[in-house]
Symmetry: D2
Subunit: 338 residues, 4 copies
């Protein structure tokens, strides 16, 4: 951390800041300059609220130098995290597709989708049993009945299932029914929920919040990892900006810095990111080209009859066409689609 004094700060004010730093059990390094003094701080500054120094007389601002995440940091863990599941490896040169309908609607729909996916080489099915909906009057998902459908379809087909957990009450039930637990964007900073999934032994797919910075996303991953669960997959799904041409602003430019700062795999959800099925294939291809490790993508047997989010779902033929395009593109990029 660096404390920058005001141009006219007195030596007395500088001394008081130095004493405050010492009182926090940190080491001050005064750095006099032509027009002002700055004071470098070394020691474990991670837990210090910089604003405690900022309010002292004569202080202009405090600048934090070290990042507060540790377990998620590539500096601490240089090699990429690879997640090995029976259905297929995530990370390490694989580009993994997770596809399926927004919501579980009935067993036939899930079974039909699972068989279609497996026939096309896709090993993971996504579908929501518990649905976070903006309106209390919208369809809220099939709940526990949906989880039973997952269990039967997994047992029958062997497909991996990814589904959202919305609260701690249902954590054990969801953990039991799925292969990867999804934490939705609106719960990215539901810290009680993050702590709870830190205690599961299933991988967690963590969606970036609508207005989360990359650092906040990595801190949310840190919550899960601090609980002992190191199998975290980040997922970009669009952020909220002034821009109104799509449902959200899909921020593909987060991929290179996420790869630079952090060793966890990162996926992209172009369906929520754009909100319109026509825009999904180009953004899916762009995600692959930008360096993502996989996609979370909405596919529905009959999108126009979907219980939710049909407008952003691909039908089966469109998704097959997209898989073909992804395969063609993956070769020059040195990736394997799975």
């Amino acid at each position: 951390m660096l404390v920058v004094m005001q141009a006219g700060a007195t030596q007395d004010q500088v001394n008081r800041v130095i004493n405050a730093i010492v009182a926090l059990q940190l080491t001050p390094h005064p750095l006099p300059g032509a027009t002002r003094t700055a004071i470098g701080i070394t020691g474990n500054t991670g837990a210090v609220d910089s604003r405690r120094l900022e309010v002292l007389d004569g202080v202009k601002e405090c600048i934090r130098v070290t990042k507060p995440f540790k377990l998620a940091s590539r500096e601490m863990h240089p090699a990429d995290t690879v997640i090995s599941l029976p259905q297929g490896t995530i990370g390490s040169g694989h580009f993994t597709l997770i596809a399926g309908p927004c919501s579980v609607e009935n067993e036939a729909q899930i079974e039909q989708t699972a068989e279609f996916l497996l026939a096309n080489g896709v090993k993971y099915l996504r579908a929501g049993a518990f649905k976070p909906r903006t309106s209390p009057y919208s369809f809220q998902g099939m709940g526990l009945e949906g989880l039973e459908i997952f269990k039967r379809v997994r047992a029958k087909t062997g497909i991996g299932v990814v589904s959202e957990l919305m609260d701690t009450e249902h954590a054990a039930a969801v953990e039991d029914a799925v292969d990867i637990i999804q934490i939705g964007a609106r719960n990215m900073q539901n810290f009680s929920l993050l702590k709870r999934v830190g205690k599961t032994r299933k991988p967690v797919l963590l969606k970036r919040g609508l207005s989360a910075t990359l650092e906040e996303l990595l801190m949310a991953a840190e919550y899960i990892m601090a609980g002992g669960n190191y199998q975290v997959i980040l997922c970009e799904r669009g952020v909220r900006t002034f821009s109104d041409h799509s449902r959200n602003t899909l921020d593909l430019s987060v991929i290179p810095p996420a790869k630079n700062l952090c060793h966890l795999p990162i996926f992209v959800d172009p369906s929520h990111g754009t909100g319109k099925r026509n825009y999904v294939p180009p953004m899916a291809l762009a995600s692959l080209a930008a360096g993502a490790d996989g996609l979370l993508i909405e596919v529905h047997p009959t999108p126009d009859q979907a219980a939710s989010d049909g407008a952003q779902s691909l039908d089966f033929p469109s998704f097959q066409k997209l898989i073909d395009s992804l395969k063609a593109l993956s070769k020059p990029l040195g990736k394997t689609i799975n």
Copy 2:
């Protein structure tokens, strides 16, 4: 809802949209124009996902006309909601102060603050027992022990207590210990939690999410009200934008439209909104002038020793000075400070 056809849409395409509308049990009203056709829809369009029509051939876009909130809407409930508690009325010409430290740190701190507040005419104390912190390594609050402190200080002093509930597990315990339950900004769309507080009989102070639109805030209130709890207080606490001169962008301009669309009281939290104590008093005065019904404000006996957010807390003398300024300003505005 209004469906706008593309300029070159065929009569066949128009007919297919009309049939789809009828299939949704709604009434279509074709509206031919010079260059294109639009189709008005009447009936209960609230639950329809407009994108289901948008994906039909020849459709340019769908435009939603009616708002999806009902119980929170001033159209449905023209008179202001007034919340009557023994400590003092909220709404209806009162400007209510809720003040106190960011976190409960110990019983002496809470008791000292309660006595200071009551001596200065302030009837509600705020303090966090459960703290949502960005880092898993930061102080997470005193938890249940903090709630016991609230009970003793309420019994002894009669002050009203406002405190945050972070998860459904602790709902009964928090409901028992406080007078107003706070839902934090990061949980504004934690729908499981909203449903749970819809079943309590304590008023709920609902903070606007960091990137929530006014409509989403009102839909979150609708979740609580749909559960049977009509005592909801909205709270603006700053939104996230590109702007970097303050911790968040305090959006006072939400107050007039919130008053226009909705009958619930609206408070402002200038402490989180600005993040710096020097900026709190001018924004507190501006909140009163803009038409807010009260403030949630951080006050600490010794801000520089606070366990969290000390830099945005006022000390006692500064808060007394602010109360005086608010009183002077309230007269020409026809409000009463309580």
Copy 3:
């Protein structure tokens, strides 16, 4: 400036950074820490692009400590700037109203408005002769003919005129016809225009750009001041965010930090900030309470017939009512309305 090295940076990499700093004619101050080295830099760092050091091997990031504005900075010029014009002083405890229609439409309209304003104690009229419009098919203003109207109405009534300059071609003509030159939000970083008005001797009202940070606004003021014109008035008029309840997000929270960092007066335009006349009076009162030095406000004899922006214009009786409210509020705040 501070250069932060990566945790594993070698001594060689540190030395290469030190040499690069010396090559830039600056002084390096190495600051070794427990896990990494940081290098403080003193000297005139204002003109250095920090990214030149950031790309060197082993560098994690560069952090700029000193702000790049000088003439606009309160550190350099602690006393408030006061602008003295024959019509009335701006700054120094005055709260100045600048009111009038969005566009000059004809001479009668301007004369009628000027007389109404003067009769109500308002000394400055605003109106656009050149109009920046999003669409090339919208009314673009009366242009030079509008300037002639200003000259005649100023001569006849003595009112001060504030009007926008959109390009350097018309700089001399606008300077000749008005008392204060307005630079619009969309031109806040039109650097050719800023340099040009730096050479005039009329005060400049500089509107904050739709996505300008406070620092960028102050740098735009710095462009004007660097040309020799120190009479700059800042103006907040709403920024662009995800928030959709108003035309723009009026950022009143910029006022306290602007006052803290800079000595120039700051105005607020609640008409463009909200876009709806019903929301203008509460935001005007809030601007006064937040510490602004004045308002730019749209008033029109017959708003429903206005050539542009009628929906955000107050009619005469509403504006008189607002003046009364502002006067009542100004007393406890220790300001004088002029």
Copy 4:
């Protein structure tokens, strides 16, 4: 346009709105519903300010149905615009590279870069003679001297030159010296400048403003086209959001809707979009995959010595490597790199 009345609006209020629509020479179509009336409007609504109706008693809101751009609209002009210049075609299956340094620094630098580019199959050089800089104290570009360098290098090597025009004074000089005139992001709504380049006969590369919606970008293109110059190239270069991991948020998701709404070619500038050279190649590949028609990219013989923006410039070997990757990727996408 659609006028939505309030739920309790009276028949009188509806009639007054109908009369106001007729007075605007448009045709009203009342559309009674279960809870409220809406009034469709047909006729040339493009030039009407919807807020003129919105302020009438009983009106809830006005909803604009038709887009205000015409010449830029794909509805009016279904085929893609192709720009044919001697150096190479833009659009129509070509993916065109425009590369070079941020600023002209001297003739040797430009000549060396031009020869390098031509040797690698790149036909267009970009470099700034006039530089928009946030600080008045930063290097402002070589100006007219830079234009002379362009003329000599063009004559000698045959390369096409793309350079920014910042003001109307230099329009003729820039038009004379370059092959494509660039309008920078900060001038996207400098309407005087847009009108001026509408009169040139050189193609215009129009960068999206930092907070411009897609509609505003297309309206800016419309300004140029309304002046008679139909050769406009759109360019995404990053928008401003809360996100802080890169210099700007490169919004690749604008490409599919831009292609859907508009027939003009669209380029991407990943150098300004990311601000860091390491992040440029993945975002360049993603731009190609997302459907862009070309790139504007910063390349410098010695980036670490660049006069401006060196940190986001690629050196020659990195750029050659990127060209190879783009070529490999272009084949499965059916595009030709030029």
